[in-house]
């Protein structure tokens, strides 16, 4: 008997065999929970990876969504994030699951996504470094773990922890007057730039919302010597 990692219901081995034959992976969730997850498939935005079927036609231009076009038109951000791919649609169910992971601190739940992560990564990986988006020291302590880092373990057995968030003091001291006014300072810092030189990087985060977190991280990585940066998130 197997038990669903999310709702703890026991589920039949037959379901897991069926799913295995269909998807090529053994699910760790019951049929009901698995059914409430929506894999992103079909036509997607070339850059941010959102499914075109889920938003109005008029926000699309060719193979890109308007949000991405706006990012790319801005010279500061042009080409910073090569591409993002997300596994699932950020629907109510996935919101619930991610909340359980982050706010209740149920770390185990992340493993439900490892099987899909492993297969998707095979498609996306280019022998690069897998780097999770870091949490602030304070939040990391409060939660006890970094969910992006746990997720990154689904993509690679050895994620590279080469980023950190600046502390409040670091932010204040380094900010110029102008920066303080426009509030545009990059929240991230590279820890070990040497390891980055000429590398392809795959950033990992739980959710792609506006794309700005990933782009800020990508920017410091490129500035520190990375060759190119893509990202992958659980939800979009």
């Amino acid at each position: 008997m197997s038990y669903c990692l999310n709702c703890h219901q026991s589920y039949m081995e037959t379901w897991s065999w069926q799913a295995f034959l269909g998807l090529g992976i053994v699910p760790l969730l019951c049929q009901d929970c698995e059914g409430r997850l929506e894999l992103i498939k079909g036509e997607i935005c070339r850059i941010c990876g959102r499914a075109f079927s889920l938003f109005p036609e008029q926000y699309r231009q060719g193979d890109c969504c308007f949000d991405c076009i706006r990012w790319e038109e801005d010279p500061t951000w042009n080409g910073v994030l090569q591409q993002n791919r997300s596994l699932y649609v950020y629907n109510d169910f996935l919101k619930e699951v991610i909340a359980k992971l982050k706010y209740r601190g149920d770390a185990e739940i992340v493993k439900a996504f490892y099987p899909v992560a492993k297969t998707s990564f095979r498609k996306i990986s280019r022998n690069g470094l897998v780097i999770p988006i870091p949490l602030s020291e304070e939040r990391h302590y409060k939660r006890g773990f970094n969910q992006a880092e746990l997720l990154a373990r689904g993509f690679s057995s050895q994620p590279a922890l080469l980023l950190k968030r600046k502390t409040h003091e670091e932010k204040q001291s380094k900010k110029t007057r102008e920066e303080r006014l426009v509030q545009k300072e990059n929240p991230f810092q590279v820890i070990d730039a040497e390891k980055l030189q000429g590398q392809n990087v795959l950033l990992v985060d739980d959710v792609y919302t506006t794309g700005s977190t990933l782009r800020y991280a990508a920017k410091v990585l490129l500035e520190a010597g990375a060759k190119q940066v893509s990202s992958i998130t659980l939800a979009r």
Binding site: R36, R104, G105, D106, G144
Partner: protein
């Protein structure tokens, strides 16, 4: 957080790592500490009254206490507070001290940033109350007990029916001693009023009282009621998301889950809907009740549908029992009507509804009366709601257990801002709305047990001006549970007032 241990006054004592400035001491997760002894009580220490009020009778994590670690630890050093391991190793695996869980599949581990352990084991069973792991001790109060006020007058002038009166008296008689009582009251019998006199007596004796119920909705409904009839009493409600958990309270209304937070706290424990899922299923919730009561206590069980085991115990007079068979307005329970509606599963899968159900829903919309429509699963909820919306123009909404807007929606329904509310079984108990009809779409589904169906039927006809609510079971072949539920209701209607 990690702890260090060191010898002080010939005693091995412990402290959070950051409070001791001694790099030669090795910091370890709480569970890895050698055994240490509790510091003796220092009577001249000025303890924090606020901390006493919050922690007395509880078992909490550091994160749950709104105090600095320094302050908490100072109380420990003076013997006013105890640390005990949240998770401990057993012969076969692990055990959680908060919820009593020992099943290995309910434990997991993670690489912990707090205690720096690669595999910090935590309990998944009670995680909704904050994570208990190997590095989080549970804190309890060992200082003087809280003295409760004895001015606790009941402000209620209602009349009890003769059935209620008899039950109320049995409770009052039991309050001073130890023991148990089952109050077997039909839905709508007015069981809350039955509790008033007994609670008043207990409060006046300076005893601490808890009403535990499996459902948040019931807590939300009961708490304001009890606050209004006991205006002088400190009352607090405990449920996921409650903001009254730090208030000192002599009378606590809590979900059964939240009882995990208490330890030897209550002299009077009233367990509502003992038969209800998840209470009867879950051994760890039983553990929660056992932990939460004071060694000397009286337990009152409330149920409309006691389990066979309880009924047997009552019959053999092992468990004292008092029955209230009639609803307080003296009218019988509405008997459900069964409506054959074909293969409802297939219809719904094809985004259609069974014809008899559509007919009813249209009529219901026109009548202007509210109705609750029960479906068997959350996945069906959206589909059914969407199709109903196509058929009627009144306000239709849906709600399920984990719906973040659940509280608001139930309130809107109560205020008649929603006419048709589609829901899963989760709202079957405790929600009292007058002028209400009830339908179960797919009543033959396995999730609808006899007791669930009796409870669902009990939602209808709950006020004395409208004792004739309609109850409809739409089905594709009567299930045994349906037949039994109808029999059960008819049986209850025949019984005389005790």
């Amino acid at each position: 957080m990690r702890f260090v241990s060191f010898s002080l006054n010939n005693r091995l004592t412990i402290a959070p790592e950051h409070l001791v400035n001694n790099p030669s001491l090795i910091a370890v997760p709480f569970s890895k500490l050698p055994s240490f002894s509790q510091p003796p009580l220092n009577p001249s220490f000025h303890f924090d009254k606020n901390l006493q009020h919050i922690l007395h009778g509880k078992s909490l994590l550091f994160d749950e206490l709104p105090f600095e670690v320094e302050k908490i630890h100072e109380h420990y050093e003076n013997g006013y507070l105890m640390y005990s391991p949240g998770i401990h190793k057993t012969k076969y695996g692990y055990a959680c001290s908060r919820c009593g869980n020992e099943k290995s599949r309910w434990f997991a581990s993670f690489s912990c940033f707090r205690c720096k352990s690669d595999s910090c084991v935590y309990c998944r069973n009670c995680i909704m109350m904050g994570r208990v792991s190997e590095c989080t001790p549970l804190l309890s109060w060992t200082g003087p007990e809280v003295e409760w006020s004895k001015a606790n007058n009941l402000l209620w002038y209602g009349q009890l029916s003769s059935g209620q009166q008899a039950a109320s008296q049995r409770f009052v008689d039991g309050v001073e001693g130890e023991g148990e009582l089952l109050v077997w009251a039909v839905c709508g019998a007015g069981k809350t009023e039955v509790l008033f006199k007994g609670i008043e007596k207990a409060l006046k004796l300076g005893l601490r009282v808890c009403i535990a119920t499996p459902r948040t909705d019931v807590v939300l409904e009961l708490a304001p009621r009890l606050k209004s009839v006991f205006p002088e009493t400190l009352v607090a409600s405990y449920y996921g998301g409650s903001d009254e958990r730090d208030l000192p309270a002599q009378l606590v209304i809590s979900t059964t889950h939240q009882l995990y937070r208490f330890k030897q706290a209550f002299n009077i424990m009233i367990v509502d809907e003992v038969d209800a899922f998840p209470y009867s299923y879950d051994k760890t919730l039983q553990h929660a009740v056992t932990q939460a009561v004071h060694p000397k206590h009286f337990t009152l069980y409330l149920s409309a549908t006691p389990s066979n085991r309880m009924k047997r115990a009552a019959k053999q007079e092992v468990l004292p029992c008092v029955k209230i068979s009639r609803r307080f307005h003296g009218h019988p329970l509405p008997v459900p009507k069964m409506v054959w509606s074909g293969e409802w599963r297939k219809r719904i899968a094809a985004k259609k509804l069974p014809a008899p159900f559509v007919m009813w829903v249209k009529k219901q919309a026109q009548s202007g009366r509210r109705a609750m429509i029960f479906v068997s699963s959350v996945s069906m909820l959206d589909t059914v709601t969407d199709i109903i919306k196509k058929h009627v123009s009144v306000i239709v909404d849906r709600v399920h257990a984990e719906d973040p807007k659940r509280k608001e929606k139930v309130e809107q329904f109560r205020q008649e801002k929603i006419q048709l509310l589609i829901t899963t079984t989760i709202l079957e108990r405790g929600v009292t709305v007058p002028f209400l009809d009830v339908a179960v779409l797919g009543a033959d589904h396995d999730v609808f047990s006899e007791s669930a169906l009796v409870q669902i039927a009990g939602r209808a006809g709950r006020s004395k001006d409208d004792h004739d609510g309609q109850v409809l079971f739409f089905h594709y072949g009567k299930s045994l549970s349906m037949v039994r539920a109808v029999k059960h209701i008819k049986h209850m209607n025949r019984e005389d007032v005790t």
